[in-house]
């Protein structure tokens, strides 16, 4: 099954351990990882995506794409907010996105019981991944040992809420390999 997964950690170092573990699971053929990104939320509530040093236009595109995906992982109503936030803030500053997933969640409490919601608190970091998995336990078990909380939405469900009319829009902004900035090398 093709899923989008968000794994929330209390600090950035742990998030990179989670990212590494995810690619190790791929290496062991337990799951297939199609793309990943690491996002942070600072004390002021701003979201930032770790990107390679790259052309500013590409960094902006990553901000817009991952911003939209964050919104989608927050549930159906998050799609518009995430895309708009990612476009507005990402365009101005590159890798920064403005999806406020937890606010979207707060505004839609009635749906909270049935949706897998992605919540990133101030100071927390998350690994966002596009994965194929035949069962969920490899990722759930591994991430739990690292202290991560796993949120998951089926790609088909995301497609139903899709903000951009292109199935490949979101995975196009995730790194198709294990990218860890040198400051977080494990």
């Amino acid at each position: 099954m093709r899923n989008y997964v968000a794994v929330v950690f209390d600090d950035t170092g742990k998030a990179y351990e989670g990212l590494h573990a995810l690619w190790q699971l791929d290496d062991a053929a337990e799951v297939t990882v199609h793309g990943t990104a690491v996002v942070h939320r600072d004390a002021l509530g701003n979201f930032q995506v770790d990107t390679k040093e790259t052309h500013p236009a590409l960094a902006t595109a990553v901000g817009v794409g991952v911003g939209a995906l964050l919104g989608l992982l927050a549930g159906p109503a998050g799609a518009a907010a995430g895309a708009a936030g990612g476009a507005a803030i990402g365009a101005a500053t590159g890798g920064v996105v403005g999806a406020t997933a937890d606010l979207v969640r707060a505004d839609n409490r009635d749906q909270a019981a049935t949706e897998t919601r992605f919540v990133l608190g101030a100071g927390q970091s998350a690994v966002i991944a596009d994965v194929s998995e035949d069962w969920t336990s490899p990722i759930d078990t591994r991430m739990r040992t690292l202290g991560g909380t796993v949120y998951r939405r089926a790609k088909d469900d995301v497609a139903d809420d899709v903000w951009f009319d292109d199935d490949d829009f979101y995975p196009s902004y995730l790194y198709p390999y294990e990218y860890i900035p040198s400051s977080y090398s494990l």
Partner: protein
């Protein structure tokens, strides 16, 4: 960083790794201060050609969904080769455009080949 080798890799895994490397190399070249050099682009062209040939040669050995995804990946690899070749002959804005198109196609090829790997793994687990 060393990755732990936990399984025997097959040809498709190697093609996927090569495609991921190609995407990374194009991304790094695009990010270079002052722009990628002719030598960078020639190296990318050779790398793209080698990966494309390798992937093409493996299509017939794959089955069903994996075969289709790999064929789609080859289409994007061929487009990557074309855009890298165009970048060698261009400058200014058209150079930037060619490099960005090459990067987008390299990304799409990595995606399709990753889907081929997933299809193959899923079929093997049943």
């Amino acid at each position: 960083m060393g990755k732990i080798e936990t399984n025997v890799k097959d040809a498709l895994d190697h093609i996927r790794a090569a495609t991921q490397e190609l995407h990374g190399a194009i991304s790094d070249a695009a990010a270079k201060r002052g722009g990628a050099t002719k030598a960078d682009l020639e190296a990318l062209a050779q790398k793209a050609k080698a990966v494309t040939e390798s992937a093409k040669g493996s299509i017939s050995t794959q089955r069903d969904a994996a075969k289709k995804h790999l064929a789609d990946g080859v289409t994007h690899l061929e487009a990557t080769q074309k855009h890298v070749a165009e970048s060698l002959k261009s400058s200014g804005q058209s150079f930037q455009t060619s490099v960005q198109k090459a990067l987008a196609d390299a990304r799409a090829s990595a995606q399709k080949i990753s889907e081929a790997v997933a299809a193959k793994r899923s079929a093997a687990s049943k």
